[in-house]
């Protein structure tokens, strides 16, 4: 068996299909991001959050039930929300949970596993997605922003930079998960039309930012998707630990949409249920294209260890359930 055979035409079909499937949702995300930027003030953002940080993180984890979004559209939205003052822990919890804890994914998981304990698999997927996101949110709550966010996220926008003296006097010790420091909005933006134009402009540039990473991720996913022989993966099904790990690596490389990945997972008949569950929980939280897209918000030094931690946490939880 030749485990790697690259064909440029197959690659281009897969690459375009991933791109065209993701673009509408990504653009929707950037539009929401632009509208948030134009119409939601930091004060409003502060008002709508629960005062208790634990309650705020838990609420963020369940927000996908009301505002379901797929993973491609999430990054621009949370990037803007963090800039508007949403605590990083809440943003990350929403980012991780929303592609799993939502009604569309629940229905598709139930349908895909019909005859293979559908209710159990659906409940475990949603429950574990929520718990993992919550744990990550709580850990992030204890970390300083400087260790999580990239330089661009930490720097104020150029026309909202306060004078140097004010910046020095307002410096706070890092370590608590306070909202990111927000800066006064420019006075020029007042009329509805002006705000809409501003929203459209921000959406357009956000789209280009995120599109760059989507292209790189889609290209890597397509190479794996079309060139690697599936038997190279299937041969790992015998051992439950290896099977769970290999299914998570497969989820990382395939970069599937969370609404359809359950059907792919269910088709791996020889793999234990724990491995399928790990595939469905890990994939929507971390895949190749997301790994690049997260770079728009988080530091590289944070993203890679975070991906590894997620891998271990989900792997251990799924393996610990003892599903066969």
């Amino acid at each position: 068996m030749n485990w790697f055979t690259f064909n440029l035409q197959d690659f281009s079909v897969s690459f375009l299909s991933i791109l065209f499937e993701g673009v509408p949702f990504m653009f929707l995300g950037t539009l929401i991001s632009g509208i948030v930027d134009a119409f939601v003030s930091p004060e409003t953002m502060a008002k709508i959050q629960p005062r208790n940080p634990l309650a705020a993180i838990a609420l963020s984890g369940a927000l996908g039930v009301v505002f379901p979004m797929c993973e491609c559209g999430m990054v621009p939205v949370i990037r803007r929300m963090i800039r508007k003052g949403l605590p990083v822990s809440c943003a990350l919890t929403y980012l991780l949970a929303a592609p799993i804890v939502n009604p569309i994914v629940a229905i598709s998981t139930f349908a895909a596993f019909k005859g293979q304990h559908p209710a159990m698999m659906m409940s475990l997927r949603i429950g574990m997605g929520f718990v993992v996101a919550l744990v990550c949110g709580l850990v992030i709550h204890c970390l300083p922003h400087a260790r999580i966010l990239n330089r661009e996220m930490l720097a104020p926008p150029p026309n909202r930079r306060p004078p140097l003296g004010a910046r020095l006097s307002s410096q706070k010790p890092m370590g608590e998960d306070s909202p990111l420091e927000v800066f006064p909005e420019p006075a020029a933006r007042k009329s509805f039309g002006g705000r809409m134009m501003g929203a459209a402009r921000c959406a357009a540039f956000d789209f280009l930012d995120v599109g760059f990473y989507l292209i790189i991720g889609a290209a890597i996913a397509s190479v794996f998707n079309t060139a690697v022989h599936r038997d190279a993966i299937l041969s790992l099904a015998g051992n439950s630990v290896v099977a769970t790990g290999s299914m998570m690596i497969l989820a990382l490389l395939l970069s599937l949409c969370s609404t359809s990945d359950a059907f792919i997972a269910a088709s791996f008949v020889g793999f234990p249920m724990a491995a399928k569950l790990a595939f469905m929980v890990f994939g929507p939280m971390m895949d190749v294209k997301l790994l690049f897209m997260y770079g728009l918000v988080f530091r590289k030094r944070f993203t890679l260890p975070f991906a590894l931690a997620l891998f271990l946490l989900i792997g251990v939880l799924c393996w610990g359930l003892g599903l066969h």
Partner: protein, 270 residues
Amino acid sequence: MPRADRMLAPLTLFWWGALLTYFYCSHRLAALLHPDFHWPVLAAGFLLLGASACVLLQGRDPEEETGCGCNHCKPPRARMSPGQWFAFLVLLVPITAAAWISPDHYSQVMVQNRGVSDLPEEVLAGMPPTVAVQPGQADPPLAVEVGDLLMASQTASGRETYAGKQVELTGQVFSLGPNRFELVRMLMLCCAADAQILAVRVEGSCAVPAMQWAKVTGQVRFAGKGGLAVPVVTAGKVVSVPRPDNPYVYRGGSPIAASRTGFKIPLPPR
């Protein structure tokens, strides 16, 4: 006249919008995405064209006109950095090249790499049959889909219904060796990247080239493979046929897709 680097952002948005709209209007999208995703692509195409016009109109002095405070709207530097040029190259070149060279179907290499899917029994069993067949019903040959035979193979009554029947089956040819090939249909879940391969083994000679479309007329039997029953067609006649309008089969969803292929796996609404 606007500088070239100031034109790159609207140009990139325009190009993406134009490509999305073109793929929708030329029906090339059918080879890439499930029909449920077609209208969002068209909408995104129009919105991107609108966004490019918006950025172009505001290009002169974004901060004064929009009051936008984001990092994109900082006063333009004298020159774009090499990194920015690289970013625009990444945004423009791969999508254009892929649109140029992408065919409307996968090659035999991909089918070989991905392998035939072991779809769960219940997923296949939920498919409505293309034709209503009665046990003992005689000729003429029944026009069935690959999925019909796979579904029938899952149950004793299904096997009894089709065993010994003359059928007409259409799909892409995947060669297995002399006098042996598989007739392949691809089941699209969301997009071509997640397509699963359904196949029925055919015994008989085939002059149709690999991955081209063929219609096989032959007799059905069920053979054992790894404890499972699999359908095998002994071909009487194999003829080349044109590629259908829509090469994929779908799991439920779009009525357009269902009417074109007559084969679907039920799926709850999105």
